[in-house]
Assembly symmetry: D2
Homo-oligomer: 388 residues x 4
């Protein structure tokens, strides 16, 4: 079996944004392990990200984190990226690493702290104007650790107010995307803990405000594809942060912990019109390569998303619909599993070769010697991580 022209062409619509910070060091509170060759600045991060796109053709853009990726001249950074065949994507704000944000940022009781956090977001939008980015992604570490520590309602109201001011500055062709997370770094409550809160907040803002669904940010046993369906139905699924998890926000390689879940998610994206040219849902990675090599880790990740997309595209929706309509529980499930169980790897290899890409991107990259070369070249300086 080779892919039908329909599947082949739909696969061409796929684009998965890479996070610049995936190429820096990351870890746990216990230890951050460094690796030779780790980028020391945004330019080197983008160079690494461009490698992923070079071997897979799947990742034409790179998201930035501000202030980690601040540069003097974004036009230069943009040119650097374009020269390497990628563009600058989503701008991620950061209000969790300044001492002033210890007890909150956009939700803080102190107007001065809120002002600083709002101004940071306005600055991010300025940067978006320069980088040509469409999306401002807001993930807040805001929350509390102890019952009674602060008034959750007051914080929620202040959040609404702060977002209103930021949203007012969002351009016609830009979007505000609000991410939610059940816990960490706050351990009693987070101010945006679930999709319902994120939805209620962005619905109050307006059309260009949407929700970001990070696949690792839910309570155990949450049915994530249901949320995908619901947010698409409500017209509010702005973007994905893909990764995978076994316990908490483990930030493992997407598809590594539960490939079937990734399949189900993509089936719903296709079903709900969120894929490729159908819609406006951005696919993005947000992972931590704590112990594995970073560039191969990102290549593996985009390939995992592509493989599951191919399987989801192979789903026989007519047969599925017929079995569902007949109330044939096992029959419908069987049609569904048939798509998941189909081994698409050989067909994807052929599809890649037809498009001038290596059949096996992992192998091609490994043979390129790039990792050894950056280990040699990037000597001295401070390796990038969370904080730089």
């Amino acid at each position: 079996m080779a892919f039908s022209s329909h599947v082949a062409s739909r696969l061409e619509e796929q684009a998965i944004e890479l996070p610049s910070w995936a190429f820096g060091n990351s870890g746990t509170r216990f230890k951050v392990f460094g690796t030779a060759g780790t980028p020391r600045d945004p330019f080197e991060k983008i160079a690494d990200a461009a490698q992923v796109n070079r071997y897979t053709g799947l990742s034409p853009s790179v998201a930035l984190h501000i202030p980690w990726d601040k540069v003097d001249d974004y036009a230069v950074l943009r040119k650097h990226a374009e020269d390497l065949g990628v563009s600058l994507g989503t701008i991620n704000s950061n209000t969790f690493q300044d001492d002033v944000y210890k007890l909150g940022s956009l939700t803080h009781r102190d107007e001065k702290v809120r002002r600083q956090a709002i101004d940071h977001h306005l600055e991010c939008i300025d940067i978006m104007d320069e980088t040509g980015s469409r999306d401002l992604k807001i993930w807040l570490a805001d929350g509390t650790n102890y019952g009674g520590q602060d008034d959750m309602r007051g914080r929620q109201d202040r959040l609404a107010e702060s977002l209103r001011e930021i949203y007012a500055r969002i351009g016609e062709h830009q979007r505000l995307v609000l991410e939610y997370k059940i816990f960490e770094p706050a351990f009693y409550h987070m101010d945006v803990p679930d999709w319902g809160t994120s939805y209620a907040q962005v619905a109050a803002l307006g059309e260009r405000a949407t929700v970001c669904l990070d696949t690792g940010h839910h309570a155990p046993s949450t049915n994530i594809e249901f949320i995908v369906m619901q947010l698409l139905r409500l017209g509010k699924l702005g973007s994905f942060d893909f990764n995978s998890r076994n316990y908490a926000d483990d930030d493992l390689i997407v598809g590594a912990a539960d490939p079937f879940q990734l399949f189900r998610i993509i089936v719903e994206v296709l079903r709900g019109g969120g894929y490729g040219k159908d819609g406006d849902t951005a696919f993005m990675l947000d992972q931590c390569h704590n112990i594995e090599d970073k560039i191969p880790g990102q290549i593996r990740s985009v390939l995992n998303v592509q493989e599951m997309t191919a399987r989801a595209l192979l789903l026989d929706r007519d047969a599925l619909d017929a079995a569902q309509a007949a109330g044939d529980v096992l029959g419908a499930h069987s049609v569904f599993m048939d798509a998941f169980y189909t081994d698409v790897r050989a067909d994807l290899a052929a599809w890649r070769e037809e498009r001038g890409l290596p059949a096996d991107p992992m192998k091609a990259f490994a043979e390129s010697g790039y990792l050894a070369s950056i280990a040699d070249e990037r000597v001295g300086g401070v390796q990038a991580g969370w904080g730089a």
Copy 2:
């Protein structure tokens, strides 16, 4: 310390609705244990419920489940209740025990099944008109067990349509309350699994549609008081189904598994204007007394809610606000815990006696001999349970 007049009078505003089905037999899929004296019909259930109110003064109304509590003449049932000092409250619909609902009810693909389910709700509203009930509570067992079994999006759309038709029939002074539940009886997806879905659905209906929060219907580690805060903020917290849990929807006595959680919930209810005369949030129990005596189980439950309400009322909100404003994490938490750790039992006993109630309702009921008398009298017939 005795209660201030403020606390004493606020405690008088408390009313906790009892579910008629708490007096029938319940259990797990493994076994339902019967008890001598279990009611055989709605009249006997209401008689038992009235005992709870008689000894506590806390439960002036009883919720009915249709068709479990169907009677020929609701005026007679209403009179029976009023004679016993209680009124008829929320009407709960039931679309999970007819064979036709095996694969869904309001969400079913088959228009005839949806019709039947909608008509059942219209009938419930007719009953509400007769019983004088304000709330129609809808909890749906609808969902699927296997990936691909049915199309979640289509089901959600049909749900919206069905609810629209039901809502159109809701009277001026009535409300539709939509309950959510993460799982059980469906094990892959539920059609109304979370507060976000319930909120999105009722927001689309109108002002008289609200959400019911059952404290046992969430994923592990969900911060429930946050949802309470959010729904009150959004003006949509219609009612509570109180119970407690250690694992899943265990339906244990409210406050038994985690009393501090119950305290935190009630603090938020007070904070958000959902308590007593301040608002429109109904307090109700929904529990299963699988192994303990049912009437004492209900008495224990309403007392637990009252005790935590008293503690929450004792919270020094000025001191709390000051500590919060000062960013004093431990100080604010300490003010919060001070209220929780205060032993209110003696003051509540005095409060009860001042109002002509027994100081110790559990003991007074035990000494009344009521359990022995119903065990003697209620011989023959079929004990009520889930299904009758």
Copy 3:
């Protein structure tokens, strides 16, 4: 690719015991849906079970539940089974459906209740002698619902004592297998909640006492294959109860909720010498077909286990070991995933045909008309379920 002779022959070692009760009705506390053709007695259950083996060749034995499957003459039942090509397998005791066991069985404070529960197990062993069964499987519903309800330590000590008496009666060629479960039907504590407790109890008994691992009986996010590894290492993995889950003990079709987990489990079984002729770990299903057809549900289940076994057998252990030894995180993971992603369905179809089995057992069974015939024939009587 066709299977190597090694893989083909190892697949022949596979035997998956079926539970007689999977052919009766099951459901949740909300509703048990019946189906036309459901067996009314153990003979009909075994007839249905034999169908699964007829079309798959995978399930040569049937487990019985006592007293659900009590018959006057087990020799007759045994002959009936053998005539249909299957044997009688594990005997499962039941101490959760008599009123006397409301607060416990082998752990009960009342010596008379314990006596009755112990005697029930001795009777089960008598039955084993007649049926030729090797394993006595003990799953206890014992536990409590409320903190302080009973003394957990005393119960644990009485459990040890009761098991000692039962174990003393276990024959030379028989085994006692103790199953654990985190919760349900008890909602505060279970007396055998985890593998550690089961292990400590059976280790105290002796060599012929082992642990049963039910894949649905763990806390969320438990790494089950780790427990498989550990119990095999300790020589105590007596048997599996296979099923799958998304939330609690959902008892769905094995492999339906998370096929990759099933793969990982079987990889560990192979690694630890628990598969086929290598060891003594029994594979068994324990599921509830609440809404799907039962016989096809069982066929689907054994096929799922077989498919994942084939994938696990295809794992290139040399390549895996080399990558692991090199500390190549992504490389080792990749070898592992390669086996999982291999589509074995066509090869399994061929393997079946070579052995005189239908290439597609689901289709062959559907075309046999068996379901229609039992629906016609089994009219009248009481359908079997949990309780009969």
Copy 4:
């Protein structure tokens, strides 16, 4: 009510060891917030720890973490501690912060890495000989992030071997205590994830090897007091690491997230003979004061443990036993809750004053001006944290 002499005297047996690292900075992978006055070396940590004991009389010893607390001369450190009224307690090893341990330590495939990890433990025992410590606590970060990354069985066998060598060096009056943790920093499997594994490993070593139960290291919904009961029954509960959690290993102040759970745990410790002079179970804190002041955070923590111990001591065991024996579910639960709901704060204040301690240790410490003085004095140098 004042405490009976029995309760008063049992309270005197209480000793809660403090972790030196609780006085250094800690945080999450997102940010570690520093505070003025944070200790720069083990001497200053011990000085801070001594403050906790000075105001509470509850924490006569301080645990050290090696190499974080390495000093040139432990006799000097010991003298320093004794001068401040405290002793040096448990020695905690650390094999998670050297680059060499990226893929494991005692379980590593590479013999050289294992050698280094074993030698580190032998060095810890040498230190114990100098500090006079009884316990060597081993918590391993060992584990993997991806399925197939390493062979879990081989790792378990190597763990057993490494522990054997360490245990052989443990002195007559010393103990090896093995801690377990479900996840973090490893996200697919941990090599010692649960009490069963820790128990199986220490049981194989010998009498002086026991288990450490950290209250934050379990899967959601685990009944921890059951494990306390079981480990005491098996004679293997060596020590507690107390803290509290809402989600994962949140390391919050013990008793802050769920005070009732702490009560239940201490009830089982008393029941099983693990408290004070009855047994050998060490009470210790292991927490992170990410946003709150550290010394008051520790004072609050030991007071929380003391308050719940007082309540547990007040439990009317005769009444409880009578209700349990009668099968009186609600009655037994009620006796249990009566103890929990008793407000012991005034009696504890009196108890403290009788013993020359401040009635309100939090207030007394706050008024002492110690925090301001260390903020003034400790200028320059590097604040201690995880890693120093």
